[in-house]
């Protein structure tokens, strides 16, 4: 049987090196021209626990995580027990012969003969690589790059384990058809959602980033910290999230494009700062990487339950935009856009992502970083009126923003209600004008809202409505249903606020049936659509067990 794609799951305990081999395998696949979607599922601990690294790879573009496993790499026996039932009819299991499995789909590998203790994961890497059709050279090349400089001895053991594994596997007759080779693979990057957010931020001109570690947002900080010196930016680990957002506001006020990132709990601490950004009209990009809550929840799993929280966070009334990337490419482009919006409208702009997308490696075409112009903070002091008024009333609510210390003009920003010159006031007429001024900016933000993406027939039998990271799964499920003759369309939101009903009302009304799909328990987007447009989506497919929505999940739920 020919296959165009493979879904392989590596399972084991933390500390067994499964992420290492997952990464090397994913990179080798991308370099050999395959498309991938990685799903990482792990326990909130450093050692032990059951962790998995799943790669869905294909010669054609793959867009979604899958549940059905073609190759199960069991680094421990528990992985066998937990995932045996997910294996496809022509799938195989790669496991240590020491596990004593008598299963006929198992490839029982004498790992102890192939590699020394400590290098068993590399042997497993060689076995899988060989089975799916990667070459030993390509994996060895990726491995060298991945490990970087290491001592001679370890490097040799790695190479030995790899080539023993390749030799052993080639000598077996394994009934698993390899992936077709991709000729002339285009140049691809392998990157996860968080790395793309970090890169997008830098391309937009990020100069200051502060954070307090919290899964699944932390890797944004790790990436930015690694590049800070080369990119002339500052990354500071703050004493808490309250400090993180206030530092970012201070830096932004002084002219450095700024960003913070966190997850729900940390964002809860930042909320007063969101309101401060709005009141002082200070640009800031806030990334919220969702994980299951309330409270500490499931720290390392995924969910889409903070839409309402981010939408309503902050006391008082003020405009905001919420962008929800659905792919790694969108993580990059929407972060860039968030900086533009923050600078133009001088306030808080959100990126709402989640653990699944944050940790999901994909093959992406290189971004055009050479031609994206970074935002330029502040306006020209030469063309400002004197004395300068930070909150001058204007038609669109946007006041020229000067930066302190750059000219002789004095810049006064205030969290109290203030006059045009920034000083605190209790003049109630001024108060009214200022509320209106701030809200006027919302009109501009609304006019720029990215419309949801409609795919398929405009008058379908079934319209699937989704947002954020579920994009790939929904598109995949829809295309599978179309193959079986169903008239299915999708309407996907990558910006969830402002929600402009004129952009999508016709689609909702034109469908025979509408179903919403969300990674939460209460259907938050559906609720928001109802509030904004009056349209009631009666059928909802929800998932809140901490795992990402998959095409299989959607199809199962639809047939219930």
């Amino acid at each position: 049987m020919n296959r165009n794609s493979v879904n392989l799951l590596i399972g084991g305990e933390a500390g067994q090196g499964l992420v290492t081999i997952g990464q090397i395998l994913a990179k080798s696949l991308v370099r050999s021209g395959y498309s991938i979607v990685v799903t990482q599922s792990y326990h909130s601990r450093i050692r032990g626990g059951h962790n998995t690294y799943t790669i869905h790879a294909g010669a054609d573009r793959v867009i979604a995580p899958l549940e059905t496993i073609d190759i199960l790499v069991a680094l421990n026996e528990e992985t066998m027990t937990l995932h045996r039932h997910e294996i496809s009819p022509d799938g195989i299991i790669i496991a240590d012969e020491a596990f004593g499995i008598s299963d006929d789909v198992s490839l029982r590998v004498p790992f102890k003969e192939l590699a020394k203790q400590g290098f068993l994961n590399i042997a497993a890497l060689g076995v899988v690589g060989s089975i799916i059709g990667l070459t030993e050279e390509s994996i060895a090349g990726t491995m060298d790059k991945f490990f970087g400089k290491m001592d001679q001895k370890t490097a040799e053991e790695n190479r030995l384990a790899l080539s023993n594994a390749f030799r052993w596997t080639t000598g077996r007759s394994v009934s698993f058809s390899k992936l077709p080779p991709v000729s002339d693979p285009p140049k691809r990057l392998i990157m996860n959602g968080n790395e793309a957010i970090a890169l997008g931020a830098l391309s937009a001109g990020l100069k200051f980033y502060s954070f307090y570690p919290m899964t699944p947002s932390t890797s944004i900080g790790i990436a930015l910290a690694g590049w800070a010196e080369r990119m002339g930016s500052i990354v500071e680990q703050a004493e808490d999230e309250i400090a993180a957002i206030n530092m970012a506001l201070g830096a932004s006020f002084a002219g450095a494009p700024s960003m913070v990132s966190t997850s729900g709990g940390g964002f809860a601490l930042m909320v007063e700062g969101v309101s401060l950004a709005a009141m002082t009209e200070t640009p800031v990009v806030i990334v919220v990487a969702q994980r299951p809550a309330p409270a500490t929840g499931l720290p390392t799993r995924t969910e889409q339950a903070d839409l309402n929280f981010v939408l309503y966070a902050g006391h008082g009334e003020f405009p905001r935009a919420i962008l929800a990337p659905g792919t790694v490419e969108e993580c990059f482009h929407l972060t860039y856009r968030a900086f533009e919006l923050a600078e133009r409208y001088q306030g808080p702009i959100f990126i709402l992502t989640d653990q699944f997308l944050a940790d999901s490696y994909r093959a992406v075409a290189p971004f055009d970083v050479e031609n994206l112009s970074p935002v330029s903070p502040g306006s020209d002091p030469a063309s400002s009126s004197s004395p300068y008024q930070r909150y001058a009333l204007t038609d669109n609510g946007i006041s020229p923003r000067l930066l302190p210390g750059i000219s002789m003009q004095l810049v006064v920003a205030d969290s109290d209600e203030h006059t045009e010159d920034g000083h605190l006031t209790e003049d109630l007429t001024v108060r009214q004008r200022m509320v209106e001024k701030r809200l006027k900016k919302g009109k501009g933000i609304r006019a720029e809202a990215i419309p949801p993406q409609m795919e398929g027939d405009k008058r379908p039998d079934l319209l699937m409505v989704s947002w954020g990271s579920t994009k790939g799964a929904v598109l995949k499920a829809a295309s599978q249903m179309r193959h079986t003759g169903k008239n299915v369309s999708t309407l996907h939101f990558s910006q969830i606020w402002p929600l402009v009903s004129e952009q999508f009302m016709d689609y909702l009304q034109g469908a025979r049936e509408v179903v919403s799909l969300e990674g939460n328990a209460t259907g938050q987007l559906a609720g928001l659509i109802r509030r904004e447009s009056g349209f009631l989506i009666e059928k909802q497919i929800l998932r809140y067990d901490g795992l990402p929505i998959t095409p299989e999940y959607i199809l199962r739920e639809l047939t219930k």
Partner: protein, 283 residues
């Protein structure tokens, strides 16, 4: 030539006779004596009666949230180290709501001056206890008297080897102005805890109460001597020492960022070739 008139005069929202007036005057005098022009200074404050002070002079101002002035100031200073950053807020703001930031700012040793108007009470919210209120201090919120022991900011700062730690009293405005000048000149974190009577809500620690107890450290006192500083910092009650209690020359936080050697972050271009190189590391 900068004159005190450059810093302007404004109507205030303070009670007549409040210690804040002396602090405001001392600040303006110190800025003038330091020959800083208004646009070179950034005042960051929180919320409280003290935190309104920056509105009453000409300078750049970021009047933020209650307790959160230090992080804002830290971000602004890192973005543009050329700004002279002065943080002005009350005891509630800095030692209560913003306590964690106080500790972090000392650890960082970021180059800014923290001027705490310490009236040992929450003034703006009408007289509840603050972290520096004395044990037994009776308020409407603490009718049985404050049950906790007071926070000693000076002792904490000295214990943490803060860069510059001083105490002043509004009854000695010239002394205060001199300390502010020294703090501005100091490269690193500077704390000036200013004892300030609150005529409306603190009937215990009155002007006379402070006047009787405050004394200036003798000229042979050596603020570089940490052991002596810890002793001086711990002194409270019948005798309260004023002056520079402790100082050292730890390098300021900004020096740990090589990127700042090329000047402020503000207005700096994005090195797109470098960005491309970083991106291609993902191939």
């Amino acid at each position: 030539m900068v004159t005190i008139a450059d810093y302007g005069t404004y109507e205030t929202a303070w009670c007549p006779g409040c210690g804040n007036f002396s602090i405001l005057k001392a600040v303006k005098e110190a800025l003038t004596a330091s020959q800083l022009e208004p646009h070179q200074a950034l005042f960051v404050s929180g919320i409280g009666q003290a935190a309104k002070a920056p509105h009453y002079l000409n300078a750049n101002v970021f009047n933020g949230l209650h307790g959160r002035s230090l992080p804002v100031a830290t971000g602004a200073k890192l973005a543009n180290p050329r700004l002279t950053v002065i943080v002005e807020s009350g005891d509630g703001c800095n030692y209560g709501e913003g306590g964690n930031h106080f500790l972090a700012a000392i650890r960082r040793n970021i180059d800014l001056t923290l001027l705490v108007h310490n009236n040992q009470v929450y003034g703006l919210t009408k007289g509840q206890s603050s972290p520096t209120s004395e044990e037994g201090f009776v308020t409407k919120a603490q009718p049985g008297g404050v049950a906790s022991t007071p926070f000693n900011p000076v002792a904490v700062a000295v214990a943490m080897h803060a860069g510059f730690v001083a105490r002043a009293f509004t009854g000695l405005p010239d002394h205060l102005s001199d300390l502010i000048q020294q703090a501005i000149a100091h490269r690193g974190f500077s704390l000036i805890d200013v004892l300030q009577p609150c005529i409306s809500f603190n009937k215990v620690n009155t002007f006379a109460w402070y006047k009787k107890r405050c004394y200036q450290l003798p000229s042979d006192y050596n603020p570089a001597d940490w052991g002596a500083a810890i002793k001086a910092a711990d002194q409270w009650g019948e005798q309260i020492p004023l002056g520079v209690i402790y100082r050292n020359d730890r390098p300021p936080f900004e020096e740990h960022f090589p990127v700042l050697n090329q000047g402020p972050l503000v207005g700096r271009d994005v090195d797109r070739m470098m960005l491309k190189e970083i991106m291609e590391g993902y191939a």
